[in-house]
C-alpha cells in the first residue's frame, strides 16, 4: 500500500522511452552514448550522454561527466563516496537539460547542473548545484 503522505512517481519504460538498463552489481567504465533513457541500477563511470531520461536506482552510482537530455530521477548516488560530509567529488559533473528530481534517498557529492530542481526531505546535495540557463535565451550578436 502506498503511503499517502509521500509523492509518488510512475515510471513506464515504454512510454518514457527508457530502453536501456544497467543491472545491479554491474560496473561499466568508459565513453558512452545512450540512445533513449537509462535505468541505472549498477555503477556507471566515465564520460557520456544519455539522450533521454535517467533513473539512478537505490545503491546505483553515476561517476564522471555526463549530459542528460531529459529528466533525472535520483534515488541513488551521484559521484564518489567521500570520507567527510563537506568533501566534494570534483571529477563528477552531471548536466541535466530537464528537471532533476532528488528523492529522499538521493545523494550527490558531485556537481549537479539542471534547468529545474525538485528535492525531497532527506536528500543530500553535498556538491554544488547550478541552474542551467536555456541556450536560446542567450543574446545572439549578428555581424552587419
Amino acid at each position: 500500500m502506498l503511503d499517502k503522505t509521500q509523492d509518488t512517481l510512475v515510471i513506464d519504460p515504454v512510454k518514457m522511452n527508457i530502453v536501456n538498463r544497467i543491472a545491479a552489481d554491474t560496473v561499466l567504465a568508459g565513453d558512452f552514448l545512450f540512445k533513449g533513457g537509462l535505468l541505472l541500477q549498477g555503477t556507471l563511470q566515465g564520460v557520456g550522454e544519455i539522450a533521454g531520461k535517467l533513473v539512478v536506482w537505490h545503491d546505483a552510482r553515476l561517476i564522471g561527466r555526463f549530459r542528460v537530455l531529459g529528466d533525472l530521477y535520483l534515488l541513488g548516488q551521484l559521484g564518489e563516496a567521500t570520507e567527510t560530509d563537506d568533501e566534494v567529488d570534483d571529477q563528477t559533473e552531471i548536466e541535466v537539460q530537464g528537471t532533476a528530481y532528488v528523492a529522499s534517498s538521493g545523494v550527490s557529492t558531485g556537481t549537479l547542473i539542471a534547468a529545474k530542481l525538485r528535492m525531497y526531505d532527506g536528500a543530500v546535495l553535498q556538491g554544488p548545484f547550478r541552474t542551467l540557463r536555456n541556450a536560446q535565451s542567450l543574446p545572439v550578436l549578428h555581424g552587419g
Binding site: 500500500m1 502506498l2 503511503d3 499517502k4 503522505t5 509521500q6 509523492d7 509518488t8 512517481l9 510512475v10 515510471i11 513506464d12 519504460p13 515504454v14 512510454k15 518514457m16 527508457i18 530502453v19 536501456n20 538498463r21 543491472a23 545491479a24 535505468l39 541500477q41 531520461k53 536506482w57 537505490h58 545503491d59 529528466d71 530521477y73 534515488l75 528530481y101 528523492a103 529522499s104 534517498s105 539542471a114 534547468a115 529545474k116 530542481l117 525538485r118 528535492m119 525531497y120 526531505d121 532527506g122 536528500a123 548545484f129 541552474t131 536555456n134
Partner: protein, 147 residues
C-alpha cells in the same frame, strides 16, 4: 485501486528499501506463445525488449510531500501556479483513466493532493454543468414561452 499490491522489481530482490514500494505492473505477462512478435516490425520489437529487459510500469515513492524544495527558473509564484496546473492535469487524466492517473507519469505527485484536486475538479464540473443546464432552460423559456 484495491487490486493493486506491492511487488519487488526482480533486480532489487533481497535488498530491502523501506522508502520504496513498487506496485503491481499495469500489464500482465502472458505465456511465451502469447509473446509472438513480428520480427519486421521494429516498434513492436523495441516495445517487447523494453518490457522484458527494463521492465513494466512501476511506482516509486520519492519522499514526503511536505517540505519539497524547488529551484525555479522563473518567478516563484509562476512556478507554483505551474505546479497547480500540472496537478489539475494529472487529476483530469485520472478521471478518464484512474489507473494511470494514480501518480504522475514521469512527474512525482502527491497522492493526497491529487485526490483533493480530483474532488475539486468533479465538484467544479458538476457546478458548471448545472449552470449550463439552468442557462439553457432559461433561454428555452425566454425564447418560446415568455410573452
Amino acid at each position: 485501486m484495491g487490486a493493486r499490491k506491492a511487488w519487488a522489481h526482480p533486480s532489487s530482490a533481497g535488498v530491502g528499501h523501506a522508502s520504496t514500494e513498487l506496485s503491481l505492473s499495469l500489464v500482465r505477462r502472458g505465456s511465451i506463445t502469447d509473446n509472438f512478435i513480428n520480427m519486421q516490425d521494429r516498434e513492436s520489437l523495441d516495445r517487447y525488449f523494453t518490457e522484458q529487459v527494463v521492465g513494466e510500469p512501476f511506482v516509486i515513492e520519492m519522499g514526503p510531500s511536505v517540505g519539497v524544495r524547488r529551484e525555479p527558473t522563473r518567478g516563484l509564484k509562476l512556478h507554483l501556479l505551474e505546479g497547480q496546473v500540472e496537478l489539475l492535469g494529472h487529476a483530469a487524466r485520472g478521471l478518464v483513466s484512474p489507473l494511470q492517473g494514480d501518480a504522475g507519469l514521469g512527474k512525482p505527485v502527491s497522492t493526497l493532493a491529487l485526490a483533493k484536486a480530483r474532488r475539486r475538479l468533479l465538484a467544479g464540473s458538476l457546478l458548471a454543468i448545472l449552470a449550463l443546464w439552468s442557462a439553457l432552460l432559461w433561454w428555452i423559456f425566454q425564447r418560446f414561452f415568455a410573452h
